[in-house]
Amino acid sequence: MGPGRGVLGGRRIAKSTEAKGTLTILVIRGPYVSQAPELAVRTAIEARRQGYSVNLFLYLDGVFNAHLTKDKDYHNPGEWLRWCVEKGINVAMCSRCTGARDLDTKCAIPGIRFGSVWEELTHMIDDSDKVLTFTE
């Protein structure tokens, strides 16, 4: 969803930064073992489409989703995350969880930020109207 332009009182204004509200979604399960990544991503993409500012934070095993960079001919959480990044969803993954799993951040999906619970997630939670956590 790119910048849009609206009209206010006859003047054209840029309203790309004027989100209706903010949704943060936490993903704590890895790919394939759980439907949580799919539920999270599809909700995130729809929320973005409806004009909300959306954060997606990959925590605990959720960080594994960020390392699915290859194309597959079956359902692929990595591909969904790439769509999220393309749609302007703020996607970040936990640095501690990534390190604990010996994942190389250089091999993660481009555009997914490497963050921390301290720096990223707490701000997301504090600044959001709603927070959803998909755990199953």
């Binding site: 925590y59 501690r96 301290w118 707490t122 959001s128 927070v131």
Partner: protein
Amino acid sequence: MAGKRTDGKAPRRVLLALHSGTYGRTDDVVGALILADTLLTKGMEVTVLLRGDGVYAALAGQRPRTIGLESHIDHLEAAVEMGAKVLAVCEDLDARGLKAKDLVPYVEEVAEKAIPALMADHDHWIPI
């Protein structure tokens, strides 16, 4: 409370609902309690609700070093010291044959019927 907000806004009230509390699910438990500590440090109000198997996280006398793991109690205590409230659902304790005396002393029992009010009183409900 550490890290009180200075921007004039009311602090966010976050409830972390743990449904895992055993050493077989330690990543979930430690992950949740680390999040609790961090939210508290940032000035938010945090309640940790132990429900279902989550009540096992509050068992007194845990010795996880025997299997090479970090203690859940250490993390729970750290959160309490920073201002978290820790609640355990009594029906879930009862279903598991546990009583208040089996738990660490700073855990407060709540009836299941208190859950609706807890939902209303917190801005965000985060299940782990």
